[in-house]
Symmetry: C2
Subunit: 337 residues, 2 copies
């Protein structure tokens, strides 16, 4: 997409010396969803994570054609260890771009900024937005769009969108996952971290992210936050208006009681469906809910089955757990005439 310069594959995924797999979630996401873009991983002594891809040094990765050194792990304590800085500088000097979803900008570290300037390599700080966007205009665009929404933050919206994209591809339907958060951008290789966009331009940024397309093409748009989360509902509403989705999927986690980082109770699925339709109609009068994606990972098999069946009966909609059951029924409904 011309508007969003791609993070060029193949990637050498850098895991530093993080202690476990949890700290390497971003790298794992890239391997899970875009294995074909990954040349290998690079780990420092003591690293406890392993993505199961070839172990490469910087020189070797370059010889294999690696174009971008992707930070695939969380830097401990938010600060960039010296050994990480040295690896990033070495990657730049070997001719790779560097991509990061960290809070701190790569260019804020002098050694990295200097190496990038002298080598002419690009630094992709995907958590930060360097582009300017127009304000949203609300005009209908061609092509089809599905958005994942949620009863809370961090409730499976990215995972569900990626699973739906994969299922559409399996059926030979033209589709693109559109990333709206830093991990999604590193997985997709492009996108906009919309929570980093200046308030006035959020819906405009989403309009730019999901432009006109041919009539049968699906944009599968990664949702953010929740219309009922007191910290982020504004972002969710602007995303809904800018996305102008034809269809949406509600992501939910049935054991969660309060929303992430606040004391507010988790939203009801009913309220999320109703508010999404009510507000979504402003930019797409045909918006409809095509199903629920429920994270049942905290439940035993029989309890999970019961919860999925209960929700299906209550909402008369396909209900899946993307990990346990796959998303085929959601895509059936999405493609139903």
């Amino acid at each position: 997409m011309a508007d969003f310069p791609d993070i060029l594959p193949p990637f050498l995924i850098f895991l530093g010396d993080v202690p476990d797999a949890l700290a390497a979630k971003t790298g794992q996401g890239i391997v899970d969803w875009r294995r074909e873009r990954v040349a290998g991983q690079m780990r420092l002594t003591g690293c406890g994570a392993d993505l199961g891809v070839p172990e490469l040094g910087i020189g070797e990765a370059c010889r294999l054609g690696a174009k971008t050194f992707v930070i695939g792990a969380v830097n401990p304590g938010g600060t960039l260890p010296d050994a990480w800085v040295a690896s990033i500088v070495a990657a730049l000097e070997a001719g790779m771009d560097v991509a990061s979803g960290m809070h701190a900008r790569l260019g804020a570290v002098e050694a990295i900024a200097t190496a990038a300037a002298s080598t002419g390599r690009r630094l992709h700080d995907v958590r930060h937005s360097t582009r300017t966007f127009p304000t949203g205009n609300g005009k209908r665009r061609s092509g089809r769009r599905v958005l994942t929404v949620g009863t809370d933050c961090s409730i499976g919206k990215k995972y569900t969108a990626l699973a739906v994209e994969r299922e559409l591809h399996r059926r030979d339907v033209a589709a693109h996952f559109r990333a709206t958060g830093q991990t999604g951008i590193l997985i997709a290789g492009s996108g906009v971290a919309i929570d980093a966009v200046v308030a006035d331009f959020i819906s405009g940024a989403v309009e730019t992210l999901t432009p006109n397309n041919h009539p049968e093409h699906w944009d599968v748009i990664e949702g953010q936050g929740s219309l009922f989360h007191p910290s982020f509902a504004g972002v969710s509403l602007a995303l809904l208006h800018g996305a102008q989705p034809d269809a949406f999927i509600v992501c939910h986690e049935p054991t969660r009681r309060t929303m992430r980082n606040v004391a507010t109770p988790i939203a009801d699925v009913d309220d999320v469906i109703e508010a999404t339709i009510r507000h979504g109609r402003l930019t797409n009068p045909g918006i409809r809910c095509v199903g629920l994606a429920i994270d049942t990972s905290r439940l035993a098999d029989d309890e999970a089955e019961r919860i999925l069946a209960e929700h299906a009966a209550r909402f008369h909609l396909p209900v899946c757990d993307p990990i346990r059951t796959g998303v085929a029924p959601l895509v059936d409904e999405l493609l139903a005439p």
Copy 2:
């Protein structure tokens, strides 16, 4: 308010050489609502606007104690004319701070940046946010709050809020107008241009803007956009959640057909009331509508009267035109036990 360094009065309001009163709306707003902060105006040859306050040069204004040189007019074509730059530099060198609501940052002009640095004076670019804010937490705060909301942008939300603050003061009720846009900030001398805040922190910025206060104190919060405007609804929703208002006033203009700068029809008053209550309940379960502020300036007297009466009968709420009738009935309802 310690969090929002004040723009220090008295002001010398600079109008440049703008051709008419419309281009000097910001200066006029300051004179209308905060006359006591204004030492005088400064105009260049050819200026067609006049605020009706003493005409002062920079030296004279300083001798009278003026602390801030406020750009009270819109710079033509968005660029800063040389004569304006020269006046701004002279004001800095004479010892004044400079405040501007223009899109372009004052400090982006080299001569201004140099003069500010060498004199140690402050540049207030109120359209830009230089502060960082926490994310919103949705916790209830002490004190009372009223928010103006609208069926569109630019529909009287700032004016209504200022009129309500004035009416509360007339009744000796402790109250503060809380500005959320650049003109409001220049009038109030402090505030946050929330449409310039990074998306993730909008509701947090509003929580910071309207902190805990004593139980009988009213924050009168300037609304932005509309929950039904496809460009800015996200900002409006985050503002509503962060403001956690006890009460709100709906601003409307009955002759407008489409929303500002887009083809979307103007929202219905009913929908705005319903959506504001529905979403406002998330952070303040007691939220209620205390009336309508209708801009009838495009209507003849009898037609205006008819429209106000019609809306009052339909909504069973006080309905005013803040300019034609004043806002006393809205404040009666606001203070009703």
